[in-house]
């Protein structure tokens, strides 16, 4: 019975060994982070083939990569995952001499708090979490607390992400989004339970369509997705809550297990080119960490306050940090309590 399977496996393995005449690069990224032309142009210029797959959550990527034998070369961890991955010895230290375009990075991201020397990662795209809402509402939300009022006839959604929901609750206390204090977390949980009857649902990007059609009047949403919605329905607007909000950035990094490190460096360098990064940022409406690329964007995009908030707004933002095990367990328990309330 298993003979057929075994033979197929052998055939597959030998096939895998013999297609080495063309260079290969395996890239594992978030969705919506490359433009249509990015990969074909890279393949053409460097005479190689790129295997590109996407993931929807950093945990998914980490689960696959943790074994140290996943087959991927380049991955894009979010900022709160960089330290954990470094501790698990998954990331290859970066040789800056092979990354000539590193200077194109915006000053904000030259020494980020999660990787001050850019020893393992190169910041790629950043975003924030705020509130996308329909301008037709009587009371435009300006703070998280507004989502706790009954002003939107229950047509409010929050993200189905414990970190994000806790961030919104903690900011109202006020407390840090990375708080590990049990008292603060309990208060945040109570806020979450309070809000639940006012909510329509906990939804991630899939709520975008419903915001556009008006089913949902206000939603906690990531800035990039909100911008796409606004492009499709000009009666929408985005607000950075007054109490503060979460910031996050995704960075490229090379896995230590990678067998194609040369090509990986070329790829990272390629992504740092102003034209390439600008093309991606423009097509995908993502906010690039590359200031040279930002110069190349059309005026409307370059000054877009949703994607590139002004400094005073940015000051209210806080980066996610990795949390210790005990805190994670507390948060998960409280999240389950909110969800089953």
């Amino acid at each position: 019975m298993n003979r057929r399977v075994f033979l197929m496996g052998v055939a597959g393995a030998t096939l895998g060994c013999t297609t080495g005449h063309e260079r290969r690069l395996n890239v594992y990224n978030w969705e919506n982070y490359v433009a249509a032309s990015t990969l074909p142009d890279f393949e053409r210029e460097f005479h190689c083939r790129v295997r590109y797959a996407t993931y929807g959550s950093a945990e998914e990527m980490l689960a696959k990569v943790m074994s140290g034998n996943s087959g991927w070369d380049v991955v894009f961890p979010s900022n709160s995952f960089v330290e954990p991955m470094r501790q698990l010895d998954l990331l290859a230290p970066l040789d800056h001499t092979r990354l000539a375009n590193l200077d194109n990075l915006s000053p904000l991201f030259r020494a980020p708090e999660w990787d001050p020397n850019l020893a393992f990662t190169v910041p790629y795209m950043h975003s924030a979490t705020g509130i996308v809402y329909s301008k037709s509402v009587a009371r435009p939300p300006v703070s998280w607390a507004d989502l706790w009022t009954d002003s939107y006839s229950r047509r409010v959604t929050m993200l189905d992400d414990p970190a994000e929901v806790f961030a919104a609750c903690l900011k109202q206390l006020p407390a840090s989004i990375n708080s590990g204090d049990d008292r603060e977390l309990k208060l945040a949980r109570d806020l979450g339970v309070q809000q639940k009857p006012l909510l329509r649902a906990y939804l991630n990007e899939e709520v975008r369509d419903q915001v556009v059609t008006g089913d949902v009047l206000a939603a906690q949403m990531w800035a990039q997705v909100a911008q796409v919605a606004i492009d499709n329905a000009p009666n929408l607007a985005f607000a950075f809550p007054s109490e503060g909000f979460a910031l996050y950035a995704d960075s490229c990094s090379i896995l230590r297990e990678s067998k194609h490190q040369d090509l990986a460096y070329e790829f990272l360098n390629y992504l740092l080119r102003p034209q390439v990064a600008a093309a991606i940022a423009n097509e995908m409406r993502s906010a690039t960490c590359n200031s040279a690329a930002r110069e190349l964007l059309p005026e409307a995009q370059r000054q877009n306050a949703v994607l590139y908030p002004p400094v005073d707004v940015l000051a209210r933002g806080e980066w996610f940090r990795p949390l210790p095990t005990g805190v994670q367990r507390l948060r998960d328990r409280y999240w389950t309590e909110i969800k089953s309330a």
Binding site: P84, A163, L203
Partner: protein, 274 residues
């Protein structure tokens, strides 16, 4: 005797290598401690099982069992007439059967999105109802338990229809004719002849629907708007956002043990399912 061993051997091999061994691995996981970023590490501990017996999680179990039971019952009532129709149709049996399965060869995720599109406030169903003046405001058809049941029934209907068909197909029409000759109405014939004879199919169908329903996570999450936690969601979240693999493994194993015990208790009373 030897023939029987040969027949059993391949399946036994597969189950031992690809089920028992991973099960042991899962057991090992459940007795270890979570790593700070996922994965498992020593020390060995039973605290995951102790945590699982918390009332919070027992409430989730109860809710999941209830929703799964309702969905299974609905599936049975909806699937039985369909299976009967296919089994008794003269010419196009395979075609009709294939047509039942065909929708399920497209991703269940996008079919769930299609249902969300149909059922939401500005969706087709509500627009129709409002247009025909049957209701004045949109009905909340989505993001509640009813929507979850709908999603589950829709997603598992073929798993009910196929086993039912497999037993109904061989039902001897002479038995039904005899019943009619004796003066039974179609209803009575159905109740007292067809249903009892198709008990194995009913049992098989219920098993194939109820159990995956307990572990379902995507449909309840999307159709229920993430507002309720079912067992499937709980386990899924342990392996994703909560990154607590040992706890996830413990819950899964407890769930499996529980259903196994219940099934064996039932089997001792009535007909065995397997």
């Amino acid at each position: 005797m030897r023939l029987r061993s040969i027949f059993l051997a391949p399946t036994a091999l597969v189950m031992v290598l690809l089920f028992f061994v991973p099960l042991l691995i899962a057991l090992a996981y459940s007795l270890l401690t979570r790593g700070p970023y996922g994965g498992v590490f020593p020390p060995w501990t039973i605290e995951n099982y102790q945590r699982a017996l918390d009332p919070l999680y027992l409430a989730i179990l109860w809710r999941s069992v209830w929703l799964a039971a309702v969905s299974t019952a609905l599936c049975l009532f909806m699937g039985f007439p369909l299976a009967l129709y296919i089994a008794r149709s003269a010419r196009h049996k395979t075609l009709l059967l294939n047509l039942v399965m065909l929708p399920f060869w497209t991703s269940s995720l996008i079919r769930t999105y299609a249902w969300m599109f149909l059922l939401r406030d500005t969706g087709l169903v509500n627009t129709l109802l409002e247009g025909l003046h049957i209701v004045r405001a949109p009905l909340p058809l989505l993001f509640n338990d009813g929507a979850v049941v709908l999603g589950l029934v829709y997603g598992f209907l073929p798993f009910m229809v196929l086993p039912l068909y497999a037993t109904l197909e061989k039902l001897d029409p002479a038995l039904l004719d005899a019943a009619f000759d004796l003066g039974a109405t179609p209803w009575v014939a159905l109740r007292r002849v067809v249903v009892p004879l198709s008990k194995p199919g009913i049992a098989a169908g219920c098993v194939l629907v109820f159990i995956p329903c307990l572990g379902a996570y995507l449909t309840p999450d999307l159709m229920g708007g993430g507002k309720t936690v079912m067992l499937g969601n709980l386990v899924q979240s342990q392996f994703t956002t909560a990154r607590d693999w040992p706890f996830g493994a413990a819950i899964s194993l407890l769930l499996m043990l529980l259903v196994l015990l219940v099934a064996r208790a039932l089997a001792k009373q009535g007909e065995k399912l397997l």
